[in-house]
Symmetry: D2
Subunit: 282 residues, 4 copies
């Protein structure tokens, strides 16, 4: 199977934009595999995936050629070549279900050319999962009310320099400083249907409020807690008489599925962030 | 088909409570049709439905006999005889979909022995639906910032004295005074997945936030806006590029279904309110 | 709001097809609103919707101009101008829920420029619904084992010459001869998740088999019973102890939603039939 | 946490049955935790779970005392003490996702006091998963058209004598003789929404037919292929243009969830088989 590449583009709307983009690929005899467009509030979003013939070595290479096409429509764009391995670091705390699910799918080859660079945890419980796949594991203990652990975590990040970080139920809040320095997209799974039930105890809050569905939300991390652009959400039905532990158990299945699916969208470069929200392609 | 009656009971937990209740019906040779129990935080919730042989004329009649059974377990209970017609008043504003759906199901006999006493609206658009079923229709105009219309509405309520009021997308906030004087359970449909997006513009807020599912919530009305005990909720998936009008259209189907199903639970006496939330039986 | 037009096209796959089609519209300064493509087994499916400037009077007019663009890719295509009213005839038997739901949505303007030409029924029960909207109603009684009624039905069809016929829970099997002569797309709602439970008693079969979800399927009608290309399907969960009448009640909500959504896809020209199945666009 | 026990009972319907059963536990001062009843076609199904005080050593012990209670209502019943470890053998072929999901949940303690006795496979691929949990693994190769492997498999079963066997995507058909000799409940996961698409290639059949939802079904195994009593089912939506490999990938998530949930119901003794179908308790 040949490798593919994809273009993510957002632009103002102008008649002829589809023609312009498709013409660019036609002139170069490149085989378009999928061409998807959506619009929102006058902004136009495109994702094109094509069979990569290796003509462009990197982003800059592509950019210099495509720029004239983009300038007409004040477009912002990025390109990704799936022949290039991308790297992911994972953070986890006590509960391993989101981590385990991601690793199981990753092992089955469901993620596009991705290497898991490392796993960081504030407990040693998840070392066993890292060991199964020979992934470097770092135990970085945390203390309540302290952010001292972030220095060590940042050293790990700087060493491996991952393209993405996934927070697979990592239960410490990240500081703005950490987020700035990590300098890569960070994807979190929150155990509620956001914007409802922000913070540390969403199942307790859901039980107290008496909602009839519980949910999970995967989003990009920004300094404001649980406020980043939402990538994927899902819910499951509460049954009459469900206790808080029962809600937690029911929720686990939703959390791990939502996290795994969100990472799939991110790693396949199907997400554009704009105005604090996302456009997610099929 | 014989008529049935049902008991709704909440109590502290004590061994033998199921035996006590079932023995009560056995001693009277009454045929139990369904017997459902749930517990939550040490509280015990029961609904029993039986074939009614007409031995009790009313609540008080039943109460005097059942009281000794209840006293042991500090139970609160109510009984409903489905042979007795119950009455419902409906409020609606401009958008008729929740009203139309309820009336269509009601016409098919899906609701237990219920009469629709009247429809009140602040537009004349829904008169046509009232006329279809020969339901008394009252046009009570409202003015922004004013609550003058409530006096006229309360006169209508006092005249018909309904057991329940359903707010089928009625878009004026009810005052505490109105709720107190109406003196009956009021069921609302709110066009979001509460507790997210309280207030008048939930689809606009959902679009702004970029949630991936939109929902609807039917709840009992209390003076705090959109904070009453939740009866039923459901969601539907947003598609990439959905505009606000598209979200509203998608949402209508969820709203009308949730409202119709919530009224079904209420009119079949399958809902117990406690601690600001509900226990809903099958 | 300006009117729009849409192109439905299926073709063999050839690099440059997106460029070719989009160039066709660009050269004519036509504003593309949505451009959606999918592929299946080497076949390529496109739907384009654009702002119609009235330059083409009809299909043939468009065809003569677009033909050269299509010939390269051995495309089959059709075009629809939404400024042109399209017409729909409806058939119904005893149970009106699918009819009532469709009419309620139609009344709210959810269907693209569509006129309901007539309603045919083998009971008089649905006349009341036709009368509400002043739609011509024809009572055509049917006899078990006989197809004599088809002659009268065909006279009605020939008189109104509808673009589509919707079978809103019409419970007589159509003969091949009738389907041939009706000479328009016929859309049925079947009360099971096809291909399971073909025929007259799907809820009874679902109960007997003990399935945990019951479904509904909307499909185009072909002479083979319940075998036509599927347009839309959905399911709902069975609860422990559901009787056959309870299944039928639960199923009604799914049936009417699936039928209404399928008609929406058909009337918005978002369905291409191929190889006995369908490609349905967003 | 104290251990619990549960009674599964099916009986003809007779007034007083709830009273009779609950009285039995009350007289013995046993604390009922859940008491759930359903009926179907005049048959009555009960599950009672109570805090076990160890008074009964085993089924027979309980049976001799409860018999008089059951005889009145021609009941069939079984009792299970969750203090007793139960054992499960697992079969798997090439695709490990259902096995991996079950083991991950099992590792998190989601299944009631269950030991995985062994894993049998006709490939060596799954040995790695068995090794992770130190579960005995047996590679028993199979040949097309031959049932010679069953002798070796039966030896393993006879050695470990498991209470249940789970077929976690085991792709060989079991003979009637094997099923008889295995002499325990066997639970399968089939990768379609049964009764649609029986046999080896359900995703290919689903694609060919053009269904809009694909499903998975977990059922007890009987000699007739894919015809046994259904325990649990679920579906997921197909997207326009999904290829067969894409359907298989989407389906995996449904398959593993349905299998894990069905085993949960079986291992918590929440399933009664009757008339070729099941009653599944909450």
């Amino acid at each position: 199977m040949k490798s593919t590449a994809c273009l993510l583009l957002s632009s103002c709307y102008k008649p002829g934009i589809v023609a312009g983009i498709s013409q660019f690929f036609k002139e170069r005899d490149l085989n378009i595999l999928t061409f998807e467009q959506h619009s929102d509030e006058g902004r136009f979003f495109t994702r094109v995936e094509w069979e990569d013939d290796g003509r462009w070595k990197n982003q800059e290479d592509f950019r210099s050629e495509f720029q004239s096409c983009a300038v007409d429509v004040c477009a912002e764009f990025s390109v990704h070549f799936f022949s290039a391995k991308q790297t992911l670091g994972l953070f986890v705390s006590k509960e391993p279900h989101a981590l385990v699910e991601f690793l199981a799918r990753w092992e089955m080859g469901e993620y596009a050319n991705t290497e898991v660079s490392f796993i960081v945890s504030n407990t040693e419980d998840s070392k066993v999962f890292a060991d199964r796949y020979a992934i470097p594991f770092f135990y970085v203990p945390t203390k309540k009310g302290s952010t001292d652990h972030e220095a060590e975590q940042l050293q790990i990040i700087q060493k491996f320099n991952p393209d993405f970080i996934g927070l697979a139920r990592y239960m410490k809040v990240l500081t703005k400083d950490f987020i700035d320095r990590a300098d890569c997209r960070i994807i979190n799974i929150h155990h509620s249907f956001l914007p409802a039930f922000v913070g540390a105890k969403p199942y307790e809050m859901a039980h107290e409020k008496g909602v009839k569905l519980i949910g999970a939300t995967s989003h990009f991390v920004i300094p404001e807690l649980d406020q980043g652009p939402i990538i994927e959400q899902d819910v499951t039905r509460v049954k009459a008489g469900d206790s808080i532990p029962k809600l937690k158990q029911r929720g686990r299945d939703t959390e791990k599925r939502v996290f795994a699916n969100a990472l799939s969208k991110v790693l396949e470069h199907k997400v554009i962030i704009y105005k604090g929200r996302t456009m997610v392609f099929e």
